[in-house]
Amino acid sequence: MTVREPNPEPRNPLGMNGIEFIEFATSQPQALGSVLQMMGFAPVARHRSREVMLYRQGTMNLITNAHPDALPGISAPTGMPTLSAMALRVRDAGYAWRHAIDLGAWEMPTRASAMELHIPGIRGAGDSLIYFVDRYKDFSIYDVDFIPLQGADRHPPAVAGLHYFGIVQAVSADRSEDWVDFYEHLFGFSVLPEGKYFGILPKGTLLESPCHKFYLQLIEPPPGAEDITWDECLLRVGLGTPDVVAATQALRDRGVVFVDRDPVQPSEKGALTQIYLGTVSFELVVSHLKPAAVS
């Protein structure tokens, strides 16, 4: 006889352990690459079969995807880069994927060719995907699908200790609770108490990952903004640093422009870059997080 005791699930059911990589899709990978390099990311490897590049900075892996074919149900890359995926480190990617599908996530097809790694993914906000990666300790997913660039430092150091801190997601009006359910029940995220914020953009709903290594911020359209376009999507990446002032200065020295008007004046709490290529901006946040090890 099978007995199902109604005990609660563990707080971190997938064994989540931070962000493995973040992916941008764009039909202008070189223009985006210039912005990324200004932000301190260095190109380290190229995909074996597709127009995909791996950038790295300290503990952060960042992928630019310029592969022209769209996946079913997903738009093809355009000139305006979009934040197209986040890959989560988990204990067992197969289990994580099945767990998510069983609970109602949408399965997404993979682009993997022969001998390439199949990275299981589900549908996220807008056109974005959420991948599950379990090979990040003794073995790297990039060893299989990517060819290192000759002469490139495979582990370029981070500017001013930058590391992934979080991702900001735009949600439609009155939809924050729907997305809280999504992240809470599929992954084990939890909502931070109202009033607890980081950085200089204190708004929306803040969710903490069950591994306590990054955050998601859900932002609804501001009141009175009925006429503006506000499609659900991943909006920007938050980068943590122990010293925002030093990081801001170091990035300014590299040519990055920060918004210097209220209410987002750079301060010791945070700073916001200008928008590049129509859609790309980064938010600096003073961070208590300990950066994860790079794979």
């Binding site: 609970l103 109602g104 549908r123 996220g124 729907d178 359910d181 999504f182 029940h185």
Partner: protein, 299 residues
């Protein structure tokens, strides 16, 4: 309560989709309830149907209807998940934010409450990335869920922001639901109210209910349960429900009458319904609200 809260359902009207959209708009309604077959059955294909809906300027109240979803297992469950995904995709394509789901009448469905809740939670989860809300309705001939209070119990325990109730006056009248059941329901969890009446006092057997529901409904004010329909509306209004009211009127005669004639009957029904509910802020309404029993919440 005002005219903008009311809409018609394509099931009440004869003819092609474009004619239905035009008739509803010409009658002054701002919204319309669609059925999936309105879209996939269009002679020029789905894309033409979607374009017609979007060009009509009408808001889509909801998409009908996902049947027999909850309580299945193994391959039957997987099959229904596929159907649900296709219907959610259709919702998104026509710019509709609510998928209507009626309680299962399948003999293959379990009545195990935990399983039913798990399935509704899964459906709600599937709907999140597409921006759809799921409105669950107790069919009066549902196999395990056939009363409003049962549907509410599942929705409440499932506890998902985008999962709520569809209240249908027909089923309430058909099984003579005690309207005090409404007092337990959170008004913001009522995603949709469907209104209709019928012409006979009693529909005793499930077979009679199915037959009446599918062929002999009339607009509110035209049937023999006017007092109960008005009572339902007053209670919903007093409860704080401010959502949509859709006329779900299946009627074999109406689908052989000119569309404008049927739409005019719908207009008259709105006028009658609005006259039955005291205006907000009026002494009568305040009295009705204070007469409401205190809300008992499960702990």
């Amino acid at each position: 309560m005002n005219f903008d809260q009311f809409g018609m359902d394509t099931v009440t009207l004869a003819g092609p989709l474009e004619a239905k959209l035009r008739a509803v708009r010409d009658a002054g309604f701002g919204q319309i309830m669609l059925w999936a077959r309105d879209i996939v059955g269009h002679p020029d294909g789905e894309a033409a149907a979607i374009a017609a809906v979007r060009q009509s300027g009408l808001r889509v109240t909801g998409l009908q209807v996902l049947r027999d979803f909850e309580g299945l297992s193994d391959h039957l469950h997987a099959y229904k998940v596929d159907v649900a995904k296709a219907m959610l995709g259709m919702c998104r394509a026509i710019g509709c934010e609510v998928l209507l789901v009626c309680s299962s009448s399948s003999t293959h469905a379990t009545g195990d409450t935990d399983a039913l809740i798990r399935d509704l939670q899964k459906l709600a989860m599937l709907a999140v990335p597409l921006g759809i809300r799921v409105a669950y309705e107790a069919l009066s001939w549902g196999r395990h869920v056939n009363e409003l209070s049962q549907a509410w119990a599942l929705v409440e325990r499932a506890d998902r922001a985008n999962l709520g109730l569809a209240i249908d006056s027909f089923h309430i009248l058909a099984v003579k639901t005690d309207l005090d059941a409404l007092e337990d329901i959170e008004p913001h969890k009522v995603f949709m109210t469907q209104l209709s009446d019928f012409m006979w006092q009693d529909v005793r057997s499930p077979e009679e209910r199915v037959n009446t529901a599918r062929h002999f409904r009339v607009f509110p004010g035209e049937g023999v349960h006017s007092a109960q329909v008005a009572d339902l509306l007053r209670r919903l209004d007093a409860l704080g429900y401010r959502g949509d009211y859709s006329f779900e009127v299946f009627n074999d005669d109406y689908v052989q009458l000119p569309l404008a004639t049927v739409a005019e009957r719908a207009r008259r029904s709105v006028a009658w319904l609005v006259s039955q509910v005291p205006r907000r802020g009026s002494p009568l309404r305040r009295a009705a609200a204070s007469a409401n029993r205190p809300r008992s919440r499960p702990t």
